[in-house]
Symmetry: D2
Subunit: 300 residues, 4 copies
């Protein structure tokens, strides 16, 4: 797991672009993902919520993983989302990711029927036993439908290769609990964009975010200010991007990142139904927010 | 849509049983589903939440639909669950169900990313345009992750073949709103077991439930007492089954129905991971509840 | 407690009217309360939430109790609200009510600091030991700030003269639990207007409501239909008033009852700040709702 | 309002102690409050939630204010809680506080009936017009029962002498909104103990807290580290007290502060019913937490 020692900082989540027939556009995906590496992200995480993992079939997921490995080309670690409703399919995709070269896999316990804590634990254990790379346990009730308690997250860490926790509830108290309960040895990551400052203040080692698709300079500047122990500067940098972070999160990352890329002059592809593009009024709002941050982005 | 005029009463939901290799056990499914018909259910609804629809792959879903049609053999209407995260797959399965002989399809807007009202409306519209049978719009935020407001449900009824609503939030106020807003022409169904009495009192035309797998006599007796305008009797019959209804709902229908069938001496098959059997203490509790209702069940 | 055997049916809650100097207008209060008796209410409950109990000082509360006793003149039982943040003041007002002639007192555990179950139990016990009349334990987190669990409500009934429960959460499941856990010996009352039909269906013996200030005929007709075991008719009568019940509850009973009385041509007095009259648009809406029910009210 | 320019840092909240007859013990109150000044708090806030304001009668409130002014003797500013359900009583106590020498008053919109935004605005305006000292608008739905939206808080600042906001929801996003919407000119204070680090990181100018009754050194050390722009040290100091802060907040400040003072060897007086002392198991837990922080407290 030596590679993972260095997993920290800004973990960037690419979108999965679709063509006019709603097929995955692998060429465009590689272009967008390559940009995330060259703009300075510390790691790349395909097939996250931003990458609309659950809307893809098995073949599409595999193609995205292979494309990521190819375009990243070893420059930064890759963390692949492999979550699935059934344990069997989760094991399958975790193995595929490991073989393809992922440094780690990320798993959110997807729900239709609410799972018990024991079911969730067994799910992670079975996947963990099938692979050798580390697992990032990901809690996000807003998308996955299950809210793993801090106590359950702590229990998951008893599984040897569950070594990282990504918290996206946006509740800073949980981060306090995790930090206190787990000590400084276990890495916890923040997955809630509007909580970026509070999470770093609480001791998060990394920020899992789709924002570098649009404002990589500001995202990295926030992390660097924290690393420099300069809270005054970190706060100033955070407030420059806070409204934008809140907007892109609240309106849905696949929609807002796609719209934002178009606004910034880049090709972004389409969405897969039932997901639909932002409404005109929302696009106008996003244009305003991006225009506001442009000068600050340039200066970093 | 003439067949649907008569869709009312107790709509029974079969479980989907699995064998030791976690494959769907079609033979056992047919046996269990046949029992639901012979015990008096007014309609059969395969591939609902109880039937663990989202945990099945396309081939498995198709096999379950075909098996249902075969075993029901036209004795009662069949309502097939065809929900899927993507619109394309939902259309695919809705068409399959129609061709196979379903009287109607049931659709819950499954969510990973929260959908906007416009996205949900477009999703239903696209499916509706692809088929001729009526659609039951199904609201159940506890499983599907999206809570459709009464106003949105009303809007969905503008689509010609969306003709039925199934409400499973357990909020009787929504039923009041629906009844008042929609009038008596649109059929609304209750999908929350512990709300059965309140929903029938509020004017629900049917009860979508997995309970007939275990206590069909009591379920039907409640409906018959309501039809006879005998509230005093309906109340007495409801309280006999209320604790059991609450238990099977709160612990997860696939788990509790499977356990209950075994307790009653029937083969129930296994679950698919990550879903796991009830704990021993829960099974004991279920045994107690089933023993309590047994004499009443016998008398109806 | 013999008088209480007969406490059931429609328990009417008068408002407390204020004059131009925000003083309690006792003359008007008597007039409004007398009307509630003559229009057929089965009991009168001054100093409830509708009567803005917590906004009155000790002298005002005592004057309201005495005025109620005088105007009711033994025709129906009186249930006096005596809730207070401190136990000492609650005991004081409970004793006052008993001496003045109340058949029962109603107590909601008012909260600033959330109380533990043991604190709530001790609070009721101390008041109960200081009086001889029965106590109606009242649960309404929306106003009182504390949500007493069904288990706590059950425990309160261990106190000899806590004999009635009023549930205002609007959650019909709690009524099911209470009915099942307490049996038919303990009387439970519904305090949520929009839940009137569901609560009666579930077995509530009475309806605590401010609605008889505006539509006594419809309120009583619902109760009578339930008594006649005629659910079909009860449902029809309920739907006639359901939208009005929902409106007056959601906009705040002191405001909506005052506005409604004025619309119906009766003097209603003013409110005490910070409570303010309904906005014009809300008054117009209430006019519409009252006009709709007028023909039905006349026919009952 | 010049005095207020300097209102920032740690605002300490004394408890209101009671004697064996549940009377306010003014002598003990002065002793406890004097300790808060000498241990370094930057301001004193009597009659807050910690001081059980709503459980006191008018005379008791006045005695507490006078005692505070006497014991503080001008060494630090005093912020008096003057909240009341009615506007008339709030005005009365605000005037009393101003005359007695308060630098500011703090007002939470207490609720029985939920107030509309317009009612809340009018309530603050009427009080503001009656006094000359600044008002701290206090939002704490967990005690007051009303949740003022960030937009309403912003609107309240249109009233000339509403100059400060105290947020106790524990939601760091609201602080972000307030800071961004109000700019740096308006002071916002954090009233949620477990959020102390996140709030200071977000730019709060002060921390309203009862914790200095027990651990003043650690509270002040956190503020000083933030002032020194040393996030690493602030984080370390925060985690030393975090578990204690969470405990005293979750179990109710009047109860936990009283218990903690006794553990630390100080007289704390009693509580007023229905509030009751912590249970033995909770006291033991508090002993453990205080023992853990003792060495760190000593070193600051």
């Amino acid at each position: 797991m030596s590679k993972l020692k260095t997993l920290r900082g800004v973990i960037a989540y690419p979108i999965t672009p679709f063509d006019a027939e709603e097929k995955v556009d692998i060429g465009l995906f590689k272009k967008l993902t390559g940009r995330l590496v060259t703009s300075g992200s510390h790691a790349i995480a395909p097939l996250g919520s931003t990458g609309v993992l659950p809307y893809l079939n098995d073949q599409e997921k595999e193609a995205v993983v292979e494309a990521t490995v190819e375009v990243v080309a070893g420059r930064v670690p890759i963390v692949v989302g492999v979550s699935n409703l059934t344990t069997e399919r989760t094991v399958y995709h975790a193995r595929f990711a490991e073989k393809a070269g992922a440094a780690a896999v990320m798993i959110i316990p997807m729900s239709y029927w609410k799972l018990t804590d024991d079911e969730i634990f067994a799910h992670y254990r079975k996947v963990a036993e099938a692979i050798s790379v580390p697992i990032m346990a990901y809690n996000n009730p807003a998308t996955g439908g299950i809210d793993m308690s801090p106590a359950l997250l702590k229990r998951l860490l008893e599984i040897p290769n569950v070594t990282m926790i990504k918290e996206s509830t946006g509740d800073v108290q949980r981060m306090h609990y995790l930090r206190r309960a787990l000590g400084e040895e276990v890495a916890f990551f923040n997955g809630s964009n509007p909580l970026a400052l509070a999470a770093f203040s609480a001791g998060a080692v990394g920020w899992c975010t789709a924002a570098p698709n649009l404002i990589p300079e500001l995202n990295l500047a926030l992390y660097n200010a924290i690393q420099a122990n300069d809270l005054t500067n970190a706060r100033a940098i955070f407030y420059r991007q806070q409204e934008l972070l809140e907007f892109i999160t609240s309106k849905g990352l696949p929609r807002t990142v796609a719209a934002g890329l178009e606004i910034l002059g880049m090709e972004a592809g389409g969405l897969r139904n039932p997901l639909a593009p932002l409404a005109a009024v929302e696009i106008a709002r996003l244009e305003g927010l991006l225009a506001e941050v442009a000068p600050f982005a340039a200066q970093h």
